[in-house]
Symmetry: C2
Subunit: 345 residues, 2 copies
DNA sequence: GTGAAAGCGCTAACAG
DNA sequence: CTGTTAGCGCTTTCAC
C-alpha cells in the first residue's frame, strides 16, 4: 500500500484519471455530479496529489526560489530578511506555491544553487542584494530561469525589477538635519557595490555636496562602531551621522555615548530599515522604514505574473517612510565641537 | 530542444541511461573509462539532472521542510529564526538537499502545509515552537512524515528531538541577581503553552520560590512594555526583571528609563536569546545566548540521520551561555523602592 | 561490468 | 462532457 494515487480515486469514482485531474485543475468542464463524486472519493480515500508527479508531468515545480549569499552572521543581524520572506510567502500561500530557500557562501556554491533551481526545484527566483555589476543577471538569463530582481539594475536585462526609492528619504533626512542647524553630516554606508547602498550614498553625497564624511561600512555592528570612532576623531567632527542600517547606527551611538557624548544633544544619529527595536531604545532611533514585507509581496506577485506569461516589467514600490524620533531631535550642537580622541583597537 | 536529458548524455557517451544514472549515484560499479566518457559527455552537453524526475523516480524530494506558524510581526522581531535557518542550511548544502519554507497562519493552513510537505515536497520536516500539548505531533505521525522536534516534548512520540537546557541559565541568572542583593526578581515569560517558555518560567518559579512576580507576555515589545509597567506599579516593586527574550527586555528597560529609573542602578534587566544589538546597547543587556545556528545544524543533522534510517533519538544541545553585561551589574537598590505610579493606556 | 524495460503518479494532447 | 494514450526524465529491478 502507501498513499492512494489518482488512479485509486478515479476507480473509486468510476471515471478515468484524466477526469480526476481536470476536476481539480478546472482546465476542462466537468459535470457537477461527476465532480461531486470525484471529490467525495478523494475525500474518502484521503488522497493528496503527489507534488512530485505533478511537477514532472506539468513541467513546473510550483515553487519559487530564493538564494541568499550572505554571511550567516550578517543575516542574523538583519531585520530585512524575515519580513521580506513573510511578504513573499503571503502571496505564495494563496497559490499553493512553495518557497525554496538556499543559503550559500561563495560564487561556486551560488552558481550550483541557481542551477539546482533551474533543474526543476523552482519555476523562478527572486534575486536579492543586487550588485551594481552583477554576474547573476547574465547567468540567470543563460539558464533561462525566470527571475525578479530586487533593486534598480541599470544594465540591459530581460527581468522584471522591483525598485524602491532610497534617495528621497536620505534627502529628507539631510534636509531635516540641516533645518536643525547641522552642517557636518556624515554617512556610514553599506558596501558600495550594492545597488541600494550606492543609491543611498549617492543621494547623501548629492545632498550634502561632497563625500568628505562618507565612510563605507559593511552593515555589521563592528563596522558601525569602528567608523563612528573614526568620524568622531576627526578635527572637525560631524554632529550628525546617517547610517545605512540600524545595526550600525545603534553600535555607533552606543560608542558615542560610551565616549561621553549625549545623543542627540552632542550627536544626532539616524539609521535605515527601522529595526523592530529602534523605536524602543532610549533615545528612540530615527530611521527609515522600508516595508520589507510589502516589497516581498510585490516581488512575489511580479514573479507569479512573469510565470503566467506576462511581459517583464519594472515596478517601483513607494514604501519608505521617515520615522523621526528622539535621536535626531533638538538643535545641533555648537559649530565646532571638540573632536574625540581616536581610540585604539 | 530544451535542456538535455539523461538520454542525450547516454547516447553521447555510447551507453544506456541506467549506466549514466549509476555513474553518478555510485550504486553500481562502473568502469573508470566509461565513467570518464559519461562525465565528459555530461560536461559537454551541460547536463543537469532534472530534480523533478529524480524526485518522482526515487520517491524522495531531496528537500526538508519547515513550516512556521508565527505571526509575521513576531517573526520579524526574532533573532532566532534567521540564525536557525542558517544552521539548517549549513548542513543541507553539503548534501544537495533543499529547504522548503512555508509560513502560515491558522491551523487549517498549517495542516495544509504539512500535507503538502507529505505529498512529496519534502522528505521530512523540522518542527519549531512546540506547544506543551501539540496537535502537530500526532498529526505528523499519522501523515507518516519524518520529523525532528525542536524542544522537549514529553508525551509519547516516535520522533527525534533536539533539546536545550533552558533551566540552567535561568537558575544561574537568579543566583547571580540574588548574590547582588536582589530579593524581588520578576519574570516576564513568553506564552506559557510553549514548551520553552514554560521551561524557563518553571525554572524561574522554582528558583525564586513562587510565581507572584511572574507575568505572561507574548514576545512582542508591546507586551514587554505593558507588563513592565504593571510590575513597576506594584506596591513592592521588583528590582530585577528577567525577560523571555531581548525584545521584551529592551522594551521593558526603555519604559523604565522613560519613567526615570536607571538601569541597572534602580532596576536590573536581563533578556534571553542574545539579540545582535543587545551587546551594543548602553547599558549593554545581559542575556542568554542560545546559539540558534548550532541548534539548526544539529536538528538538520538529526533529520538526515532519521531519513537515512537511523532510529529516532533525543539529543540535547548544550548551547546556552549566560552573557552578563552592564544591565545587571552592580548592587541591588535598597530593599523597598518606591513603586512607580501605574500608567494608563 | 552493462543493457533493456518497467515503472514513479501525474498532465496533456488527441479522440470521440 | 469524458475516455485513451503518450509521455515527463529519471531510478531500479531483472537479465546477460
Amino acid at each position: 500500500m502507501g498513499r492512494p494515487t489518482i488512479d485509486d480515486v478515479a476507480r473509486a469514482a468510476g471515471v478515468t484519471k484524466a477526469t480526476v485531474s481536470h476536476a481539480y485543475s478546472g482546465k476542462r468542464p466537468i459535470s457537477a455530479t461527476t465532480k461531486a463524486r470525484i471529490f467525495a472519493a478523494a475525500e474518502r480515500l484521503d488522497w493528496v496529489p503527489s507534488s512530485r508527479a505533478r511537477a514532472l508531468a506539468a513541467r513546473r515545480a510550483n515553487a519559487v526560489g530564493v538564494v541568499l549569499s550572505r554571511d550567516p552572521a550578517i543575516l542574523a543581524s538583519d531585520a530585512f530578511f524575515p519580513a521580506f520572506i513573510s511578504g513573499v510567502e503571503s502571496v505564495l500561500a494563496g497559490h499553493e506555491i512553495a518557497l525554496v530557500l538556499q543559503m550559500v557562501t561563495g560564487r561556486t556554491a551560488e552558481e550550483r544553487a541557481y542551477r539546482a533551481m533551474a533543474s526543476g526545484r523552482a519555476d523562478g527566483v527572486i534575486v536579492l542584494d543586487l550588485h551594481r555589476v552583477d554576474w547573476r543577471v547574465p547567468y540567470l538569463r543563460d539558464l533561462r530561469l525566470p527571475a525578479v530582481l530586487l533593486g534598480a539594475y541599470d544594465a540591459e536585462n530581460p527581468f522584471s525589477t522591483v525598485r524602491t526609492d532610497d534617495a528621497t528619504p536620505v534627502r529628507e533626512l539631510v534636509a531635516h538635519l540641516r533645518a536643525l542647524g547641522h552642517t557636518r553630516i556624515a554617512h556610514v554606508s553599506g558596501p558600495l557595490d550594492y545597488v541600494h547602498s550606492h543609491a543611498r550614498a549617492a543621494a547623501y553625497v548629492e545632498s550634502v555636496g561632497g563625500d568628505e564624511l562618507l565612510r563605507e561600512g559593511d552593515f555589521t555592528a563592528g563596522s558601525g562602531r569602528a567608523l563612528t570612532a573614526e568620524l568622531l576623531g576627526l578635527p572637525d567632527r560631524p554632529t550628525a551621522v546617517l547610517y545605512a542600517n540600524d545595526t550600525m547606527a545603534i553600535a555607533g551611538y552606543s560608542y558615542a555615548r560610551s565616549r561621553g557624548l549625549e545623543v542627540p544633544a552632542d550627536l544626532a544619529v539616524a539609521g535605515f530599515d527601522d529595526d523592530h527595536l529602534s523605536a524602543h531604545l532610549s533615545p528612540a532611533l530615527t530611521s527609515v522604514s522600508s516595508d520589507p514585507f510589502r516589497r516581498g509581496k510585490v516581488a512575489a506577485e511580479r514573479l507569479l505574473a512573469d510565470l503566467a506569461g506576462e511581459p517583464a516589467e519594472s515596478v517601483t514600490v513607494d514604501c519608505t517612510v521617515l520615522r523621526l524620533r528622539a535621536s535626531t531631535a533638538g538643535p545641533a550642537p555648537e559649530a565646532h565641537p571638540t573632536p574625540l580622541e581616536e581610540e585604539l583597537s
